[in-house]
Structure formats: structure tokens, C-alpha cells
């Protein structure tokens, strides 16, 4: 890629965004490890891509880290048991987005016996590494769940920049902040491994400036690490403005590059990994234990003891809340993820998925739904859109079902970050409208 790339001294400009409240109540709460729950439910789709097929059957004994579901497809990662015990049932669950997927229910024996086959992966070549990343079951842990081996498995020399997403711009969530504070060396050794094995020139850790302690700690470890990494890792404090952690926005503020519509970060030479994903890769290389636990933030007005918890994947929400002191009051709304993009759940039986980074339970007061009124064309939505879209224009096109007009006006770059609806004084269902617009364009393309 020619001359050595320099590291950014300050963030590049980004447009739009909103001043969402931070509400990082749990930022100073050291993570606690949750004891094994009585049972877990491992969903066969915890990533973007093809769902896995269960490879165990009821009655089988399984151990921690043992594969329970897999698929040959490229865009897929294996699922592992997060407890040791016995497979109770293979069942169908309805995901928060309405799709139905298979899931393996495992009764825990409380022993957490690790699977015998677990050993550190042997890595000699770049391809070994990509395969190991797939075997580890890791997906983008920031929320999207895009398989990591696909992100990094691009042509050699295509990528020159590794961006570590530690922005954590969603309100309430502090799990990435805790990762940085409690596992800073893991983060750096993960960066080092990926940079060396993938032949990437520089790494930028993007982190919002509302996490001064994490920035300090990361700066210290980077300074040490830079001695044998030719000074090519830096921590880039970003302004605390939602959605700085959105992939395309983060690439823009870290490198000044704009990902073209319909393209991937690799097309502009970037790989973006969540801080938790990179730290996990490092621990997998050392131990060979696949992704079976996840650090999440449990918060919200209906939770007794908001805190960061390291939870076995597949643990039911109600068991997690129970561990956090139970409900303070009747929960009105429970969401997976942050309040800006998180999914509202129909009940608390849902199991934790790999890509979840928070469980928030809100009381009736905070979950109150606001009545929409007529659009007053104030333009707050358009000003807030980080992607430069004009929601009122798009609403009109959605009403007309004009697929071409929608595509021309950039509907497909909408990432549903929710800035528009957050800013709207008329409580218009703008995000739903954008989703409608996208589905209109998609179905027109199929024809």
C-alpha cells in the first residue's frame, strides 16, 4: 500500500448524530462472573448468515466448549455449549425479529467441565488463523454479529487498517469500557495477533471521550506494545456523540474514508472489530476455549442491582436478572442491546446471544409509548441523520411505494441507528418507515 500510513491525531469529521444521554451507571462496576444457570438454550442463529444445524441429540452429554451446532456455509460459525450437562431438547424458538430458529436446550450439571478436545490452535499461516477464528465461534460482539472470519478473510493486501471499536456510543452499556479496563493486555495482544497474521499496517482504537479511565489504560498498554509493533497502534478519543460506534461512522472518523453504498469496510481497506471480539481472539489463541461466555451490562430502572456480568451464552434473561437481584418493579419493556438500536423482547425467557452486549429492563414510566403527531417538517431528523438522509422525503416515497426514488435518495445506506426518531418532536415512527422503504427496494430488486 505504498508509504507507511500515519496514525490519526484527531478524529475526522462526521455529520449528524444526536446527543443521547450517557447513563453509564455501571461504568465503575467491576464485572462479576455469573455461576452456571440450571439450563441454557443455545440458538442456532447468533450471527448474520446461515443458521447452524444441531449436531447433538436429546440425552447427549456435552461439556463446556463442545460444538452443538455447525454448518458448512462460509457465512456461518459453529455454536458451542456454554455449560456441561445433558441435552434436554432440540426446539424451535422465535427470535426477537420474528424469525424462527432451532435451539438446543442443555441442562447444566453445575460442574462446568471443559471439553477434552480443547487446546490452543496451531497457527502457521494466514489461512490457519482464519480457520481458527471461525472455529472459535466468534462474531462481531458489538451487536451486529457478523462472522469475524469473513471480515478478516479478504484478499491479502486489501486491508491496511484495523479499527477497534470501543466507542460504545449506546446509552447504559459499559461492557466494552470494562473490557478495556479489566483486560487491556488481552485487547492489545489480540490487536498484535491480528496485525501480524493478517499483515495489517496500523491499528486505531476508537473510543468515545466519555471513558477517560479506559482511554488512560489503553494508552498505557499501547505505549508499551508500540515498542515491538513499530509504533503503529493508537488510541483515538472520539467525541461522545451517538452513533460514533456505527461501523461506517467509525471508519470515517478514524480514517476519513467513506464506505461506498453497498460496499464493505474491506473495500476501503479497513477491518472493524469490536474490542470484546479482539480480546476474545487473543484469549482463544492462548487457550483454545471457544466463545462460551459474554460480558454484558445489566441495567435499567426495573433492575435491582445494575452491573456488568460475565454470563454463559444461552442463559435465559430471567436467570440473569435473578442474579442481578431480580426485578425492582414490574418490568414493562426488556431490551437486548442499548436503547437506541436494541430489540424489545416479548418475554424474559429469551436466551442470551453471542452478539448481545446488554440486557436492559425498564419500568412502566420509562417504557411509556408516546403518541405520534403530524410531521411539522422541522428537519431535526435530517439534521440528525449520520448518513445524510432526509426522512420526510423518504416517508413520502414510502407512501407512494416508489422503489426507484427510495434507492436514489439513499434508503439502503440507512443503518437504523434511530437518531431521526430520537430527535423527532412529533414521535413519528421514522425508523419503521425506513425499514419499510428498504423492504420496498429489496422486493423491487427481486422482480
Amino acid at each position: 500500500m505504498g508509504d507507511k500510513l500515519s496514525l490519526p491525531l484527531k478524529p475526522f469529521r462526521s455529520r449528524g448524530g444526536v446527543k443521547a444521554p450517557h447513563r453509564k451507571h455501571t461504568a465503575e462496576c467491576e464485572s462479576v462472573v455469573m455461576p452456571p444457570p440450571s439450563e441454557v438454550l443455545i440458538c442456532m442463529s447468533q450471527h448474520i448468515g446461515v443458521p447452524c444445524k444441531p449436531v447433538v441429540k436429546p440425552g447427549d452429554e456435552v461439556k463446556v466448549g463442545q460444538i452443538v451446532g455447525d454448518n458448512d456455509a462460509f457465512l456461518s460459525v459453529p455454536m458451542h455449549s456454554s455449560v456441561s450437562g445433558r441435552v434436554k431438547k432440540i426446539e424451535t424458538v422465535t427470535m426477537p425479529n420474528g424469525s424462527k430458529v432451532q435451539a438446543v436446550r442443555i441442562e447444566s450439571d453445575g460442574q462446568m467441565t471443559p471439553f477434552e478436545g480443547i487446546k490452543p490452535p496451531k497457527i502457521e499461516t494466514r489461512d490457519d488463523f482464519i480457520k481458527a477464528v471461525r472455529d472459535s465461534g466468534v462474531v462481531g460482539l458489538g451487536g451486529a454479529g457478523f462472522p469475524v472470519h469473513v471480515k478478516i478473510g479478504v484478499e491479502r493486501d486489501k486491508v491496511d487498517t484495523l479499527i477497534i471499536n470501543a466507542a460504545e456510543c449506546e446509552p447504559y452499556i459499559t461492557a466494552d469500557n470494562r473490557e478495556a479496563l479489566e483486560n487491556s493486555w488481552g485487547v492489545v495482544s489480540g490487536i498484535k495477533a491480528v496485525m501480524e497474521l493478517m499483515e495489517i499496517d496500523r491499528a486505531i482504537i476508537g473510543i468515545e471521550n466519555n471513558k477517560p479511565n479506559a482511554i488512560k489504560v489503553l494508552n498505557e498498554v499501547c505505549r508499551e506494545a508500540n515498542r515491538d509493533m513499530h509504533g503503529n497502534v493508537c488510541v483515538l478519543p472520539l467525541k461522545a456523540r451517538y452513533p460514533q460506534g456505527a461501523e461506517k461512522v467509525l471508519i470515517k472518523v478514524c480514517t476519513g474514508r467513506v464506505v461506498p453504498e453497498g460496499k464493505l469496510p474491506a473495500d476501503v481497506g479497513c477491518v472493524v472489530m469490536n474490542i470484546a471480539s479482539i480480546a476474545f481472539v487473543s484469549s482463544y489463541l492462548k487457550t483454545g476455549m471457544p466463545l462460551v461466555t459474554k460480558r454484558i451490562t445489566v441495567d435499567g430502572s426495573a433492575v435491582n442491582r445494575p452491573q456488568n456480568v460475565i454470563v454463559p451464552i444461552g442463559t435465559r434473561i430471567k436467570d440473569i436478572i435473578e442474579f442481578c437481584g431480580g426485578y425492582k418493579c414490574r418490568p414493562e419493556k426488556i431490551i437486548f442491546g442499548g436503547p437506541m438500536m436494541g430489540l424489545a423482547l416479548p418475554d424474559d425467557e429469551m436466551p442470551l446471544l453471542k452478539q448481545n452486549n446488554a440486557v436492559l429492563a425498564f419500568s412502566e414510566k420509562e417504557a411509556a409509548r408516546l403518541e405520534p403527531s403530524d410531521c411539522i417538517r422541522c428537519g431535526r431528523c435530517a439534521a440528525a441523520c449520520p448518513m445524510g438522509l432526509t426522512p420526510p422525503l423518504i416517508s413520502g416515497l414510502v407512501a407512494k411505494g416508489d422503489a426507484e426514488g427510495l434507492a436514489d435518495n439513499g434508503i439502503m445506506v440507512c443503518m437504523e441507528c434511530g437518531c431521526c426518531a430520537f430527535a423527532c418532536p412529533a414521535n413519528r415512527p421514522i425508523v419503521q418507515n425506513m425499514r419499510m422503504g428498504k423492504s420496498i427496494v429489496r422486493s423491487a430488486k427481486k422482480k
Partner: protein, 314 residues
């Protein structure tokens, strides 16, 4: 508790801004101008304000009722329209004429086109123009400031713009403080500027339209040989630029559009003032630019992130 959770689309947070709060901010921003109106033109202006607000609100309520639509009186937009219309009237105006103006603003311009957010021209400005054309004498009979303190009979005067066309000038200080003839809410530049600063500070409006409007009037009237300071302080420029041209529904949404809109308003205002038979052109300039808004918006669409420039269609 199971099965009783609220499931709704993200985002699950709101900025807390509401239409009602925005309108309330506009009303607060108009308080200085309203107070100035009462100080200069007395109880009659207070009565006009009260009549306009009451009839606009009542008409909004009746319209929604008749049309079997959700009541929207609570969003306070009718109050803003009533208040703005009142501030655009001369103090001696027969209240019944003012009520007619309210009918034009709320019934014809606003509700017949679908209510808040759907009117294509500014209701208060349109009502003022309809009144000006329908009642030319009553709408241009100006009372002198402070006359209400001295005598029961009203003494009429002229606006600074009319005086100028007769060759009489008005002092800058009088113009700035509002001690001149004119519509009750337009004379006191100081009060209007205070309101404008409040709106910008509260982020209710962007300063682009007022700055482009007032700035262009200043530059253009200077270039055409007029007194630039006089032109921005006299007539309806301040009231129009800060409160009427910034109406969300009838002005462009993005910054580039706002620049074009503000400059356009100013150009038409100055051209009318310098070359047309009318002494004042702010209302007409704003309504004309209102009509152009869809075209301005088409011309100034923002480029979506990462969107390739579309090849011109052959």
C-alpha cells in the same frame, strides 16, 4: 408478568422535544415583541393579540371537530399563528377584521390543506396579505406610538418606510427601539432580536435564514444606494426574517436550502421596496419564497453517505 411486555421498535429513547415545547418556545420568544406592542400602542394591541389567539385556537378546534380529526389545539401552533398575525396588524384595526384574518390563516391556509405541517404557505403571512388586499385603508392606518397615553382619539401617523418615500427620515434609535408607526409587533427591532437570540440559543431555529435575510437586505439596499441600516430596522424585516421566514413547514430543511431561501426573501423584499409601488415587501417576499420551497428542496438535496454520484440520465 410474562406476555405483558411492551414490544416496540427501536429507538427506545427520545430527546424529549415535542411540538408543544417548540411552539411554547416560539411564544416565549414573542413575549418581548408583544410587550413592546402594548407599550407603544396600548390596550388596543393587547386586545388584538387576545382576539387573534382566541379565535385561531377556537377555529382550529372547530375545524378539527368538523373534519372529524384528532384535536390539535394542545400543540399550541394555533396560538403561535394567532400571535404572529396580531403582531402583523395595525393597532387601530377593527377586531372583526382581525377575526376574518384568523379564518383565512387557520381555516383556509392551514386546516384545508391538512393542518400542521401541511400548509404550503405561512398562515399568518397569507392572512396579512389577504387583509391588506381586502381592507387596504384599515390595514395601512397607522397610529403613532404612545398616542394612546395622551388622548382618547387616535392620532394617525406613517410608517418609517412611507415617511422615507416622502423624504422624511426616522432616527436609528427610534427604529431600533420601535418608537415609530407600523404593525404592532414589527417596530421594536430590539425585542425581536431578543426573541431571535432566544430561539437560536434554544435550537428551535437555525440562524441561517434570519442572517441571510437581514444580511442580504443590508448589502443589497446599500448597493442600490439606500441606507442599509434603515432598511433592516424598518418595516417587517426583523419580524419576517426571525419569526415568519423560519416557519418549519414553509422553509427548506437543509442548510443550503435555507441560504437560498433567506437570500431570495431579501432580494424580493428589496426589489419591492425600491422599484414597486408598495412601500413594504416582506410579506410578499416570504409568501413567494414559500411557494418555491419544494423546488429549493429538490435542488439542495443532501448526498447520502457513500452514495456514488448518479450519472446524468441521457
Amino acid at each position: 408478568m410474562e406476555n405483558m411486555l411492551t414490544v416496540s421498535s427501536s429507538p427506545h429513547l427520545s430527546s424529549g422535544a415535542t411540538t408543544r415545547k417548540i411552539m411554547l418556545d416560539v411564544i416565549i420568544a414573542l413575549v418581548p415583541a408583544s410587550v413592546a406592542a402594548v407599550i407603544f400602542f396600548g390596550w388596543k394591541s393587547l386586545m388584538l393579540i387576545a382576539v387573534c389567539i382566541a379565535s385561531c385556537t377556537a377555529l382550529e378546534y372547530i375545524c378539527r371537530k368538523v373534519m372529524k380529526r384528532k384535536n390539535t389545539v394542545g400543540d399550541l401552533s394555533a396560538v403561535v399563528t394567532g400571535l404572529l398575525l396580531a403582531l402583523n396588524l395595525p393597532s387601530g384595526l377593527n377586531p372583526l377584521i382581525a377575526v376574518f384574518g384568523c379564518v383565512v390563516a387557520i381555516v383556509v391556509v392551514k386546516q384545508m390543506f391538512g393542518g400542521i405541517g401541511n400548509n404550503f404557505v405561512n398562515p399568518a403571512i397569507t392572512a396579512r396579505i389577504v387583509l391588506l388586499v381586502s381592507f387596504p385603508v384599515q390595514m395601512t392606518t397607522w397610529e403613532k406610538p404612545f398616542e394612546w397615553l395622551k388622548t382618547a382619539d387616535s392620532v394617525t401617523g406613517a410608517t418609517p418606510l412611507a415617511l422615507m418615500s416622502q423624504g422624511t427620515s426616522t432616527g436609528y434609535m427610534d427604529l431600533f427601539l420601535g418608537n415609530t408607526g407600523g404593525c404592532i409587533g414589527e417596530t421594536c427591532a430590539l425585542a425581536l432580536l431578543l426573541g431571535g437570540i432566544y430561539l437560536v440559543a434554544r435550537k428551535v431555529i437555525s440562524p441561517i435564514i434570519p442572517l441571510c435575510f437581514i444580511g442580504t437586505v443590508f448589502v443589497l439596499s446599500f448597493l442600490l444606494g439606500g441606507d442599509p441600516l434603515f432598511h433592516i430596522l424598518s418595516g417587517g424585516v426583523m419580524l419576517g426574517a426571525i419569526f415568519m421566514a423560519t416557519d418549519y413547514t414553509t422553509s427548506p430543511m437543509n442548510p443550503a436550502g435555507k441560504v437560498i431561501f433567506g437570500i431570495g426573501c431579501a432580494v424580493i423584499t428589496v426589489l419591492i421596496r425600491f422599484y414597486a409601488n408598495l412601500p413594504e415587501g416582506v410579506s410578499f417576499s416570504i409568501i413567494l419564497m414559500n411557494i418555491l420551497v419544494p423546488h429549493i428542496e429538490n435542488l439542495t438535496r443532501t448526498k447520502p453517505f457513500g452514495k456514488e454520484k448518479k450519472n446524468e440520465k441521457a
